[in-house]
């Protein structure tokens, strides 16, 4: 810890502020570039975890959409994964997968599954039965009905799930340093007592979460114009 403190504070102009572990704008301005690499790791872990989680949840949702009796068991299993505290998951996985990104990603992915899967199923269930009936009656095949009617109509719920999963994952990645996967959490942990350090890392986490949330929201608006159509 001492070593880390020396490392992080080697370049400074306001000796007293830094020595007091204070919030030092000048130090921040001079040292901001040391945070880009951890931020990059943070973004990488978040995006990869959410992307893998999305693919797995989508596969599960498509199977469960066809075989409804699987919905319960899948919710139960992903629910159990969801309740395991992520820090505990990191430690549980260490003997199996060792320290590093793989361990962190397995735990992070497991954490997204419940949120993503449930929103996908809720979205598919929200498709009006009469639209389904009319679609089949006009000659859409099962696959056409899925891709042209059911999935588009499920998009608002699916993307809402993606927003929650992404912002939650940004928060959890801050703990991924327990698995030795880097990220902003490692940077915070490098000097927990130094306010400037903690503030930068925290602000970057918040900005990252808000950016992802906003981006997905923009995508949702672009993809689902009918949801904003006001009743006549």
């Amino acid at each position: 810890m001492i070593v880390a403190q020396f490392e992080i504070r080697d370049d400074f102009r306001e000796r007293s502020c830094v020595a007091d572990n204070g919030f030092c704008p000048n130090w921040i301005a001079d040292n901001l570039d040391r945070y880009w690499a951890p931020l990059g790791e943070h973004v990488y872990l978040t995006l990869v975890a959410v992307a893998i989680g999305f693919v797995i949840a989508a596969a599960l949702a498509l199977v469960a959409h066809r075989h409804r009796r699987l919905v319960g068991p899948i919710v139960n299993v992903t629910g159990i994964l969801y309740t395991i505290p992520s820090v505990a998951a990191f430690f549980l996985l260490l003997p199996l997968t060792g320290r590093g990104r793989t361990t962190a990603l397995i735990a992070l992915v497991a954490y997204t599954l419940l949120i993503l899967f449930r929103n996908m199923i809720d979205g598919l269930d929200s498709v009006p039965e009469e639209s389904r009936d009319a679609g089949r009656g006009m000659g859409l095949t099962r696959r056409q009905l899925l891709w042209r009617v059911e999935i588009p109509l499920a998009l608002p719920a699916i993307l809402a799930g993606l927003r929650v999963a992404s912002t939650t994952t940004v928060g959890l990645v801050a703990l991924a340093f327990f698995a030795g996967a880097g990220g902003l959490g490692e940077q915070i942990n490098a000097d927990l007592a130094f306010k400037s350090n903690v503030v930068i890392c925290s602000v970057l986490c918040v900005v990252l979460a808000a950016t992802l949330d906003g981006l997905i929201l923009l995508v949702q608006r672009a993809l689902t114009p009918w949801t904003r159509a006001v009743s006549a």
Binding site: P128, E130, S131, R132, D133, A134, G135, R136, G137, M138, G139, L140, T141, Q144, V149, P152, L153, T224, W226, A229, V230, S231, A232
Partner: protein
């Protein structure tokens, strides 16, 4: 070209149900005719209709469209050539009215240009304001949605169209207007129609032929509206068409169907009836007249005089009873 439709001993037994939903239905719908399936709930009318496009599969018997069994075709292929309108319309909420109308042409692989032209054409045909074409279903009223639903069913010019209580969920005024428009639409599109309703008045108004089904899925009578009202096959049909069947028959007749009496002393203030007025409306007008008589005029020329007695005589003659006077 409108299709001929034939049910041959078509039956349906749903898995797990004790009684069959439909028992040995046999009837033939001629090309271009509107056949209304009517009956109380549990009479199998919707099942019968849904078996035509295989939304429900036959348990036994067969259904032939232009002589070809529906069993032979792939369900999705078959359905693309059969218009389908349901009570709750089932528009796709994420597509505009125009895109909804283009659904089947799109499935059939029409070029985009042709789909757009056809969709615009149908918007006009069903009497939808053109500026509503780019709205989403949530932005349309119930009546407008059902118009889009009918346009969507007609988009690929199907030889056969199935309509399941299409006006059932609308308020009475909108329903009346859409029934009216439907009657006119029938003249302009050449398609065979199977129309399901539980409303005998709607059946009489819109059907060329009416199949009355009874609980348990049996056909009680298959006849033209006039025959049905004049000669109900049994007590069930008689009760189903209602005690006012002579008034319903009047609705099927026009003033021009009755022999008019020479114009006598008719007050000039009387508003004359048109020959195209339904006898039901004419009788209602006559009953308000102290003398029970009204002039009939067309294009300013008085053709004669309609009396309550003449209306009565017409009904009696139709029923085959000797007319009085």
């Amino acid at each position: 070209m409108p299709a001929a439709l034939e049910f041959r001993e078509a039956s349906k037994q749903y898995a797990g149900a004790r009684a069959p939903a439909l028992v040995g239905l046999s009837l033939r719908v001629e090309p271009g005719e509107t056949c209304v399936l009517v009956g109380p709930s549990g009479s199998g009318k919707t099942t019968a209709m849904r078996m035509v496009n295989r939304m429900v599969d036959l348990t036994s018997g067969d259904i032939l469209i232009d002589g070809r069994s529906v069993r032979e075709a792939k369900p999705a292929e078959l359905r693309r050539h059969i218009g389908y309108v349901i009570q709750h319309v089932g528009l796709f909420p994420h597509r505009t009215a125009l895109q909804n109308i283009g659904t089947v042409p799109q499935l059939l692989g029409w070029p985009k240009q042709r789909i757009a032209e056809r969709a615009r054409e149908l918007v006009a045909l069903v009497g939808l304001e053109p500026e509503l074409a780019d709205r989403y279903p949530a932005q349309l009223s119930g009546g407008q949605r059902q118009r889009v639903g009918v346009a969507r069913a007609l988009a690929a010019d199907p030889p056969l169209m199935l309509m399941d209580e299409p006006f059932g969920a609308l308020d009475p005024i909108t329903r009346d207007r859409l029934q009216d428009e439907f009657e006119r639409l029938k003249e302009r599109v050449s398609t065979t129609i199977v129309f399901v309703t539980h409303d005998i008045d709607e059946a009489i108004r819109l059907g060329d032929r009416i199949a009355v089904l009874r609980q348990g899925g049996e056909l009680a009578q298959y006849a033209t509206p006039g025959e049905l009202l004049l000669r109900p096959a049994d007590a069930f049909v008689e009760e189903f068409v209602g005690p006012d069947r002579s008034l319903k028959r009047l609705a099927l007749l026009q003033v021009s169907d009755v022999e008019l009496e020479p114009v006598g002393a008719v007050a000039s203030s009387d508003t004359p009836l048109s020959p195209a007025t339904s006898l039901r409306d004419a009788l209602a007008a006559l009953l308000q007249e102290p003398e029970g008589r009204l002039p009939v005029a067309e294009g300013g020329q008085v053709l004669g005089c309609l009396t309550v007695d003449a209306v009565h005589a017409k009904l009696r003659r139709e029923a085959g009873a000797p007319s009085r006077g």
